[in-house]
């Protein structure tokens, strides 16, 4: 079997997923032998920008029109396109204030009268192209990435948990930060895979992995309101990592 041709690409983000890949210390040498990496700008200077790819891993969100063009090109040349990390899957932190005009943000950051340059509200990859598989997380968990690579090189689509962080947290027998400590915890509506990393350290889930399928956002908001949180604080937290997610947008539109 010939080695699968791989590309690792970044839209706008912190390069955190690429770092997680490099942090697979026990496996990286094997991965390098197993895959034919054709494009990985952060780690290689000779990149093939044209060849067809078996798998494209793409991290980061779309915040610039040029990125839309390059993502479409990546899609065209790739058999499978995998969204890596919360920015790619849900829009990530850059999308937390998508309702604020870009000009206003430019004025705050670059000073009045403001710079003129192109910028679009941050969007996840699937808003523009077909995404074959998503691995969320801010950052992704390296085990999920490795599992996914193992499945993909064998021609299978990986299987990731479909339940919420809340379930992992209960299995770990943590004190419930939401119900017992009245903290702003998004564990019940956030997709599992981190083994409740934050709650294990006594930190409420900030929703960095994005919403679980069929997340009951209304019920989560109601529980938080009962505990004295303002809608402003709740919505801010909901939108911190996955603002553009349909479940969140639908809920916000109703209120």
């Amino acid at each position: 079997m010939s080695k699968p041709k791989i590309g690792i690409f970044g839209m706008t983000g912190c390069a955190g997923e690429q770092i997680v890949i490099l942090n697979c210390e026990d496996e990286l040498m094997d991965i390098l032998k197993l895959l034919d990496i054709r494009s990985f700008h952060t780690a290689m200077s000779k990149n093939d920008e044209k060849c067809s790819l078996d798998i494209a891993f793409v991290e980061g969100a779309l915040v610039h029109p040029e990125e839309e063009i390059s993502l479409k090109e990546i899609r065209k040349r790739s058999r499978l396109l995998i969204a890596l990390g919360t920015c790619a899957v849900w829009g990530g932190v850059a999308a937390m204030k998508n309702e604020v005009s870009r000009q206003r943000l430019k004025d705050i950051v670059y000073g009045s009268p403001g710079r003129i340059f192109k910028s679009i509200p941050a969007q996840p990859l699937h808003s523009l192209v077909k995404v074959d598989f998503s691995i969320s997380g801010c950052p992704i968990e390296k085990e999920q990435f490795l599992q996914a690579v193992a499945s993909l090189v064998h021609g299978d689509i990986p299987v990731l948990p479909k339940y919420a962080v809340c379930t992992e947290c209960k299995i770990n027998e943590n004190t419930c930060l939401l119900l017992e400590k009245s903290e702003l915890c998004l564990g019940p509506i956030t997709i599992a895979g981190c083994n409740a990393r934050c709650a294990n350290c006594g930190i409420p889930c900030s929703g960095c992995r994005g919403p679980v399928e069929e997340a009951n956002i209304a019920s989560e908001v109601e529980i938080l309101e009962e505990r004295g949180f303002t809608l402003r604080d709740i919505y801010n937290q909901l939108r911190t990592f996955a603002g553009p997610a349909e479940a969140i947008q639908t809920h916000l539109a109703k209120r």
């Binding site: 706008t12 983000g13 912190c14 390069a15 955190g16 997923e17 690429q18 770092i19 997680v20 490099l22 942090n23 210390e25 026990d26 990286l28 040498m29 390098l32 032998k33 990496i37 990985f40 700008h41 952060t42 780690a43 290689m44 200077s45 000779k46 990149n47 915040v63 610039h64 990125e67 990530g92 932190v93 850059a94 937390m96 204030k97 604020v100 206003r104 943000l105 430019k106 705050i108 950051v109 670059y110 000073g111 710079r115 340059f117 910028s119 941050a122 801010c138 950052p139 990393r197 934050c198 294990n200 350290c201 006594g202 930190i203 900030s206 960095c208 604080d233 801010n236 937290q237 911190t240």
Partner: protein, 419 residues
């Protein structure tokens, strides 16, 4: 007059997106631009209106390589704004995290981003199998350092347990012992790393500049200290805005920072070593001498060697801290107050600055972040200018490669620089 054009449309083996554009007429660059085109995410914009305790978690997402630095610097700025003095234990744990992250970051840069240039390779995958031993060493060392960051922060990148005035969770003493034993195992690897980097054929280039770093009286400062420079600046961190300024650059998404009315400056490993060499332990000084590191060193390519020496130092320092560390649960309570706070840290790439204005309800009213690459921006362009003049006789491709290597030697982070 002969004319040469250098255009690198997307510089590889650095973090983030930048282009280099140089037009040379005769032996002089007529136009020289480091065009940092990484688009902004507007962190300073969307932090406004958020609660102070959300800030560290959010700003750690500025960078996947130095999240500890952004998180810790934000925590300290918020604490200063509210008049909170964190415990000795909290300060030590933050120092450990900063050191372990610095070593990991330097390792990735030296082995994966810088080293291929010195052996004529495109990247790590091409370097296998010839450099399998070196790459295995990299993996071994990086794992130990990432495990240490994760033991304290709950996760190596974007840590979770560091909060205002302390940590929500502490590693067990057994865990700390394991981390200490692991550190012992990689000390020889660190020495090999320094020797390996010292054998790179570093371009002969020298340009005097102003080095700036954080300095404290009794230790090699990573988090707390005064801002000092090789041109005699010495100011407390809250006075930064009085002495420094940020300027917009028409062709770049990142700004440039400099000391008001002065030329460009350099921050990072080489600046730290130049300014704080006397505070390093004898073993590091001895190794530095053995590999020919001499003060003052004005060759920016030697930032690589300085990073390798900091790897050796960082591992030793972490081990020493762990040897005497006894942790106990502390009361992290504090009162929310309005205020303005500024803080610095030495991120792996150099001085990082966060400043926040917080109102009485704990809501952020203003945020400002100045990153190491913003501090280095003007200096990189100055160095490129002189490097081009010095090498203008060479073929265009060779000059271009030298320019790429110079920018990489700074280990820039363009995502950070734009944020």
């Amino acid at each position: 007059m002969s004319e040469k054009d250098i255009f690198i449309d997307y510089l590889a083996r650095v973090e983030g997106e930048t282009a280099i554009k140089i037009n040379i007429k005769g032996n002089k660059p007529q136009e020289l631009k480091l065009n940092i085109f990484e688009p902004p995410r507007f962190f300073e914009g969307f932090l406004v209106g958020r609660k102070y305790y959300e800030v560290p978690d959010i700003v750690s997402r500025i960078c996947g390589i130095c999240p500890v630095s952004h998180m810790t610097t934000a925590l300290r700025a918020i604490e200063k704004a509210m008049g909170i003095n964190p415990s000795q234990q909290t300060r030590i744990l933050r120092r450990l995290m900063a050191l372990s992250q610095m070593v990991s970051s330097h390792l990735i840069h030296l082995y994966m981003l810088a080293m291929p240039d010195y052996h004529g390779y495109s990247g790590a995958q091409e370097m296998l199998p010839e450099f399998a031993e070196e790459l295995s060493r990299l993996m071994r060392m990086k794992k130990v350092m990432n495990d240490l960051t994760a033991a304290i922060g709950g996760r190596a990148s974007h840590p979770v347990s560091a909060v205002v005035n302390g940590f929500t969770d502490l590693p067990s003493s057994q865990e700390l012992e394991r981390r200490q034993r692991d550190l012992e195992k990689i000390e020889t690897d660190a020495v090999k790393t320094v020797r390996m980097v010292s054998e790179f054929s570093i371009p002969d280039f020298c340009r005097k500049t102003e080095y700036v770093a954080l300095k404290a009286a009794n230790r090699y400062a990573m988090i707390e200290g005064n801002i000092v420079s090789s041109a005699g600046l010495e100011i407390p961190e809250q006075d930064y805005d009085k002495y420094f300024e940020e300027q917009e650059v028409s062709y770049s998404m990142a700004k440039r920072a400099r000391v008001k009315d002065r030329n460009s400056l350099m921050v990072g490993a080489l600046a730290r070593l130049n300014l704080k060499f006397d505070q390093l332990p004898p073993s590091v000084k001895k190794l530095a001498k053995e590999v020919g590191f001499k003060l003052p060193d004005y060759n920016p390519f030697h930032n690589n060697l300085a990073q390798s020496l900091e790897i050796f130092y960082g591992i030793q320092e972490c081990r020493q801290i762990l040897e005497n560390l006894k942790l106990s649960l502390e009361n992290n309570n504090y009162r929310v107050r309005a205020g303005e706070g500024a803080a610095f840290s030495e991120a792996p790439r150099g001085l990082l600055y966060h400043r926040y204005t917080i109102n009485a309800r704990g809501v952020i009213e203003k945020a400002n972040i100045v990153t190491p690459t913003v501090h280095n921006f003007a200096n990189i362009e100055e160095d490129l200018h002189h490097l081009v003049i010095q090498n203008s006789d060479l073929p265009t491709a060779k000059i271009a490669l030298l320019c790429e290597m110079l920018v990489r030697a700074y280990d820039p982070c363009f995502s950070c620089s734009v944020h």
